[in-house]
Structures are given as structure tokens and as C-alpha cells.
Assembly symmetry: C2
Homo-oligomer: 213 residues x 2
DNA sequence: CAGGTAACTGACCGGTCAGTCAGTAATACG
DNA sequence: CGTATTACTGACTGACCGGTCAGTTACCTG
């Protein structure tokens, strides 16, 4: 006995997985793995809890899918970054950080980062996926760029992997800061501004001679 | 009917809270708030679960106490850092990072950091305590030192708060890296080495003139 | 417009765990 | 030594939540 024309649900097998993963990403990023409720994820995705299990075997499986999805677009970014700048190191440093900063502000990297850090202890294989498929690639690429610049005599001696770490750390901490302390009333860091100043500092700290203007 | 001289437990009201908090710190740092079991914390502290409730009203209360305790020794570190180096900025930068690195390796800062980042969304008031009582002080002190050095003409123009962020970020990321990716087989960063190289880079990046040897 | 298929629902189950409390035993004290 | 006090124990409870499944309903096909 239901009013005509308003079906209780629609059958949309193709779209469900994506919608569910998107809802799960939001929930996990907000609350972390353990505290996120499947019931709530289902509600956000506009389905019942049971429907989740038509597409994902377990909560961990869903988490895995979320991490995978959160990786894919970022990987593309990394690849693009490498491909675009074979030129002199000073030029790379001038362009890349701002681009990264923009992406960190656009994609929900902060939430995912928080999640990976927070749950790494309990779900090591997810930390492994995140590391092997994304972090290692990105760091490796940056590392190679630094090493190449050193070989060309542009950059001072020093461990290239550590240089890579130095380059990205303030941006990552800015994002973590935003997720952790801003909701609590702490003053924000403007990721763009941090990127600019850090680039400036690192340029004059790493280069063997003053960069051309 | 129990063998003589071996009491089932001792009454040690004074020592219990400290022991329980220490056990809880270890458990929370290892597993995070939600995944840590009160039963296990009690066992580590050598008491039954019921005993926890003689000293702490709820699990959250215990978490609060852990955060508070984890703050205290670090606060002392911050104060010492400020007090010890009114001298020229280059000298401060030469000594402080290595000292910080040592402390990051000694105290269980990594676990606590992970915990605060991971649970900030679910327990905002704890992030607030951590920020107001520790992070803000530390960052503020470093910020003041930078600003003073700028006033003396030692350090280039730029936002001092951002400079402070740049200075500490790689060390923090190193520690987070250790907690997150090393257990999964990722290559480690030697925090000491990172501290040395970063100090070097930042020195020549921030100072208005080459530092005296 | 049947009849069949499978996407979807939602009440339910079993396990887990924070929190309780009646009882027990260690100590303080007279 | 006896007795009062209270730190402490551990079996228990109630709520919650991941996961299940019998039933329901949208949609497809002839």
C-alpha cells in the first residue's frame, strides 16, 4: 500500500560502488576506521547497511577500496610532476611546491593522511599499500630529481632522500595541522604561503650558487 | 587455601595512578584510543579492570590523564630550549635540532603524536589541550627566537611562524614515518642525520650572511 | 501484462567491551 | 589479636555494532 510513482529504492548496480566508496572516504577521514559506523556510511550513500555487503565483503575491504581510490588520482599527479620538469632544479622548485600545495588543498589528502597515520598500527597492510603505491614513488621521484641536480653540480652535497623529506615536510605538516588543530581554534597556516616561503628558503639553502632571477 | 606469604595483591593506592597511566600511554600509543582494551591496560599495570575505575571515571578520563602526563615532560624540554639560547641565531640552530632529535628518539613522542592526530576528530578537547599547553608554546618560542634574530638583522625577511614550521617539520615527519611506515618495511630515516642536514640547509637558507665557521 | 531475476531492505544474531558491584582480602588501628 | 576500613577482584550486564539472510520490490524479458 504505497503512494504511486515513488519507488522505495532504485536498482543502480553500476553507480553504487563509487558512491559507497565516496561516502566511506568522507566517514573514515572524519572519524577514523574504528569509529566510523557502517550504518552511517550506508546512510550517506543512500542505501541500507545490507547493500554494502553486496559490493564489499568486510569493513576492511571497504577501507582498502577507499585507500586505493584515494591513491589513484594522486599517483597521476606524481607522474605528471616528474614528467613535466626535467629542467634545472631551481625551476622545478619554483613550480612544484605551489602545485602540490594546491592539490593538498583540493583533494581530501588531509583526512586520508590522518587516517593512514592513525590506523597504521592496527592495519599494517593498508600502510603498506599507501607506502608502496604512492609515498615511495613520490619520494623516489623527488629523490631522483635531487640526485640528478647534484650530478649536474646545481645542488650541494647531502643525502638526496633527506633533501626530498625536507622539501615536502612543511606542506604535509600544514595539512595535518589543518586537520588536527584548526577545528580546535588554532591559527591556520596558509598552505600556499608556506609553500612559497619554504621554496625560497630551500632554494638558497640547497643550490651551490644563487639562483638566476 | 592459598600458599603462605604470597598475597594475591597489594594495596598501593599512591602508586597506582602513575602505573595505570604509564600502561595506558603504551597501549594508546600502540593501538590508538578505540582499539586499546581496558582489560589489557589493567593487565599491563598489574591490576584488574575494576581497579581502573577506582582512579579514573571513564576511558576518556584515562585518555585525558595520559595526554596531560605526556605533556608535562615535554613542556620542560620546551622551556629549557628557550632558556638556554638567547645567543646568535646560527648558534641556536646548530644546537637545538640535534637536541630535539635526541628527545624525539627518547620520549614516546611518536606514539603520542600518532594518537593525537588520529583521535583529534573524535576527541577535540584533547587536541585542544595538546595544542594550548604544548604545541602553541613550543611554536611560539621558536617563532619569537626567529623574530628576534630578524630584528637583529641575522635572518632574512619572512613570516617567522612559517619559519618555525619549516624548522621542525622534517623532524616531526621523520617520527611519524617511523611509526607509520617502518613497521611495514619502509627504509628508515635517521632522525639525527635529518636534523643535521636540515639545520645546515636552513642555516644557509635563512641567514642574511654566511654563518661563521 | 505475467513471470523471473537480482538489487535491495531491515530485523536479527552473536561477539565484544566499557562500565558495575557484591564480595574478598590486605592493611591500619585499637 | 580482633575488628574496621578500604583497596582490589572478577563475574556480570547492557549497549553497541559488524555481519547475515529471509523477504521485498524494482526492473527486464518475452
Amino acid at each position: 500500500m504505497r503512494s504511486a510513482g515513488a519507488p522505495r529504492f532504485r536498482r543502480r548496480k553500476a553507480d553504487r560502488p563509487g558512491e559507497i566508496v565516496a561516502a566511506a572516504l568522507a566517514a573514515f577521514a572524519e572519524k577514523g576506521f574504528a569509529a566510523a559506523r557502517l550504518e552511517e556510511i550506508a546512510a550517506r550513500a543512500g542505501v541500507s547497511k545490507g547493500a554494502l555487503y553486496l559490493y564489499f565483503a568486510t569493513k576492511q575491504d571497504l577501507f582498502r577500496a577507499v585507500v586505493e581510490q584515494a591513491i589513484a588520482p594522486n599517483m597521476e599527479v606524481v607522474r605528471a610532476m616528474i614528467a613535466a620538469h626535467p629542467g634545472p632544479f631551481s625551476e622545478l622548485l619554483r613550480l612544484v611546491p605551489e602545485r602540490i600545495a594546491t592539490l593538498l588543498e583540493t583533494l581530501p589528502v588531509g583526512g586520508v593522511l590522518k587516517m593512514v597515520i592513525g590506523e597504521a598500527g592496527n592495519f599494517p597492510e593498508l600502510a603498506r599499500v599507501w607506502h608502496d603505491r604512492l609515498v615511495a614513488h613520490a619520494l623516489g621521484a623527488l629523490c631522483d630529481a635531487v640526485a640528478a641536480a647534484q650530478a649536474r653540480g646545481e645542488v650541494k652535497a647531502g643525502d638526496p632522500r633527506t633533501y626530498a623529506l625536507q622539501l615536502v615536510s612543511p606542506l604535509l605538516i600544514s595539512v595535518i595541522w589543518r586537520e588536527t588543530f584548526e577545528p580546535v581554534g588554532a591559527a591556520a597556516f596558509d598552505v600556499q604561503a608556506v609553500a612559497r616561503q619554504h621554496m625560497q628558503t630551500m632554494l638558497s639553502g640547497m643550490l651551490t650558487q644563487e639562483a638566476p632571477p
